[in-house]
Symmetry: D2
């Protein structure tokens, strides 16, 4: 399975080069991961309050492939590229789409490694089984 | 008429006080004005390319009424509070809504004065009649 | 007295219009107020931990006068425009400066009303006398 | 040689987790690279106007090692980790420093690959010799 989030480009996202500012691709990434989690039923607050864990970003790799511009309609695809005991890696591909939602070009490609830590002392702990079960469906 | 834009709060919007960072209310405002324009058929690019004008923010007044938090669902209401020859003022009210979309509390209240300028020398010009006609429907 | 903060414009501050994004003037404002407080010896942490209060932004009015651009050197002047029992208003004027630091043009003008609240229940309380004494020196 | 940029943490940089928002490390990175270029005499505008090239971010890898917090004083160290014909990689290490400027802990570690493109058609071109000569001094 692939999680998809539509993203519209506003002035706030752009820079004086006329393109989406490079750091803002990571903001889009966080929106995508949050909505991915919400779609699986494990949004930030639930993870924290019910399961006593949070997912912390440990490492990001991003390739900038094409530029995105003001008013562009984008779609961010999120999948799981690897799933370990206490950590997992998400793969996020950002595309520009046309009026009909068809992909025109890939804008960037991100790998985001997250660690599952408990909310008391921020030490790595196992990803909860119920979370792992759902994530499994999104493994590439 | 009132234009409504749903806004979800992500980590990118918050600060270490645990609330939506005060400057980011203005980002939400710009999203709301852009989608308002798109809804009326006059999005940024069209205004620029077809009508040779852009709307420039000249003055903002904002009241911070309540705090908004991570994962909150908000709705931003945009109307026109005054419409003059070369300028107009938009009124934007940000609310927190519950799961059913019912308004729970007003978060902030913004008045944004914009000037219509031509794209050649950035001098104030009359708001195009076709834009004014549509705006008229959103006057409070 | 006037507090001055130099501000350099980076890509992160700009938008596709080629200018400093309007909401980012408020970010500069917060930097200026923070450094103003630090200069008076009452930085955020001290206010919170020692005096049990924080200053919360309640209202902002901003006039956009000229545009600022990538690589511009700016200076933000901060003063107190009014000082009441439980609140005060700061005046922040943003200027572009030349290579020698001489002011060339005013970019924006901000009035920021802050309320002093206690850190337990966020109710308005009197601005601590020692803070008021120092602020008095910066009243316009 | 190592280029050093001091960075103060403001509310704008933080998120509701109480730490510097992960995407904002990249903003600090851009500030550091810009000031590095300015220190070498080749700031953005000069590169563009005199040499007809700009440096475009193609790939970023970042490790998040420790968290940074509101009011922290940081220092960002920038060096060149590899220098090729049409591209180069910058290494940026972010540290928290104490009151005396001594390094306390490394916060993050970034590798940023940039491509030299000409400003007409954005095709990769050779890094100008005069730039390469200066960069050579900062190679690790």
């Amino acid at each position: 399975m692939i999680h998809e989030l539509p993203v519209r480009v506003y002035y706030e996202d752009t820079d004086a080069g006329g393109v989406v500012y490079h750091a803002n691709h990571l903001k889009f990434g966080e929106r995508g991961r949050t909505e991915f989690l919400r779609a699986t039923g494990f949004q930030n607050r639930n993870l924290h309050e019910t399961l006593g864990v949070i997912f912390v970003v440990r490492h990001i790799e991003i390739d900038y492939l094409k530029t995105a511009h003001l008013d562009d309609m984008l779609v961010l695809e999120t999948t799981i590229s690897s799933l370990k005991n206490t950590s997992f890696t998400m793969h996020q591909a950002l595309f520009r789409v046309d009026k009909n939602g068809a992909k025109e070009a890939q804008i960037s490609d991100m790998k985001v490694a997250l660690v599952c830590v408990d909310t008391k002392d921020y030490k790595p702990v196992r990803v909860p089984e119920e979370v792992k079960d759902v994530f499994q469906k999104y493994v590439e």
